[in-house]
Subunit: 216 residues, 3 copies
Amino acid sequence: MTIHQDPELVMTLQSVIEFIGTFAFALSGIRLAASKHYDWLGGFVCGVAVAIGGGTIRDVMLGLNPFWMSSPIYLLFTFLAQLVVIVCHHYLKRLDNTWFLFDTLGLALFNIAGIQKTLDCGFPFWVAIIMGCITGSFGGVIRDVLLNEEPVIFRKEIYAMACVLGGLVYWAFSYLGLSLYVTVIASFLTVCIIRLLAVKYHISLPTLRDEEDKKE
Amino acid sequence: MTIHQDPELVMTLQSVIEFIGTFAFALSGIRLAASKHYDWLGGFVCGVAVAIGGGTIRDVMLGLNPFWMSSPIYLLFTFLAQLVVIVCHHYLKRLDNTWFLFDTLGLALFNIAGIQKTLDCGFPFWVAIIMGCITGSFGGVIRDVLLNEEPVIFRKEIYAMACVLGGLVYWAFSYLGLSLYVTVIASFLTVCIIRLLAVKYHISLPTLRDEEDKKE
Amino acid sequence: MTIHQDPELVMTLQSVIEFIGTFAFALSGIRLAASKHYDWLGGFVCGVAVAIGGGTIRDVMLGLNPFWMSSPIYLLFTFLAQLVVIVCHHYLKRLDNTWFLFDTLGLALFNIAGIQKTLDCGFPFWVAIIMGCITGSFGGVIRDVLLNEEPVIFRKEIYAMACVLGGLVYWAFSYLGLSLYVTVIASFLTVCIIRLLAVKYHISLPTLRDEEDKKE
């Protein structure tokens, strides 16, 4: 495997996916803000919230400065997403499949980034899995809170659960002593495949039953 | 007093109350999520938010890693509460008085835990009282924000005020030089009694008057 | 210039504006809580959220203890605002122009305080501008989230944008090597003037267009 032998290429690939993910996350926040007629700044803040919100909560809990404070690149990609929404808002819907793909790639990579950063800080694996999940999915929670909606993640999507399962694969593969490359790729694919299957076949978690509900 | 002479028994008692409180707090979050038909993960996140949200905000403000990252026990009790809601959801309502009692015990203990941790960090007493109050009551605020409701704590309940009064008792007893045991027990009982009385006699804080309201 | 030569007078002036700003911010939160008939504690928490929320988020991200934990003065001014709302709620509306002026002065000063604190921590200017904006405007976002409303800042007001422009002026003047006094005063006036003009002439940022909207 060539990629395996070329750490620089791997780093580049990882950066590219990270930028694509940041762009896709920001885009989803700005489009939702647009559907509620927020102004430009409101859209930007919602975009930023989705793109960097999860990672910010993770870093604050780990006792680190939020990652986006070390490089303006994340905000620049949010700016880019904002520009795209303002200029091309009539053409965005046709590309929904593309955004969904980008979003899924971003989710899978953000999950792994959260896991690795937490392990690097010396925390045990169960904390790392939670932090991976927070990195990937809490940006969307912040977005929904800012837009005054019930967080969609708690109702319809298998979003966060895909992160948890990807984290468990990471854990299992590490435990089995497999190489970091294999572990990361397996975890990455797990998140992508679960999310794609869940959306394609409308799989979702069971709903909690209300106490007033009839007996089953 | 035997308890007095047996620090191990005291520690065990404190742990038991802490676990009961965590369970009761988590249960309240998951039941509310169930009443809005959230999915399993949404219920779990709401349960976690109530059980550990207040302590997490406190620890972040104190510059510490959140307490739940040092032991999975808090998440396990949330899992347990989740299981109970899923399996026994038809029988929960009959035990409402039990949950209320657990919740009150948890509130009183979380309040004291927040006060002591803040004092240990070298902050003055007025900060400790605020942190005790945050530990006990901000989990519920996060829950209501996640459920897209107006925080109930700001409207109907004497919840946070009981924490503040328990904190003032802690302060007064410490100031008078009374032993830690007496201080903790007095503060604990203050919170419990105020909350029980407030609910029994429907006592609540005065409401702020709207500026449009008629003269009194 | 006499002020220039008297650092003590400058400090006093700065403190006075800071207290006025804290009072005005707290007042705005408590009045909104009153319009929703929150109880006294709910009003107080909303007031605190506006007055210290932005600075707290800033400090947590900078890795510092929140500023209000070092002195009770900020909470005392919130108490004062609470008292004013409870006692004089019939007369508040007539003074709306005064509150607006106080609020604007507070915004301009909080913005500068956030910029300076961030620069002191060794972060670059673009982070400082963001932190200034967060210090000035995120208290209002927290307030709206607690009141279960869409954050007004994202819809109607030029609030946060005034902070960003004030921050850019700060940056430009520092870059040009002008003295700190000139820089601070220019940034302060920029925020005040933009906000006053925006409200007087109903200037607001463009709104994001919904994807369903007709072509322009």
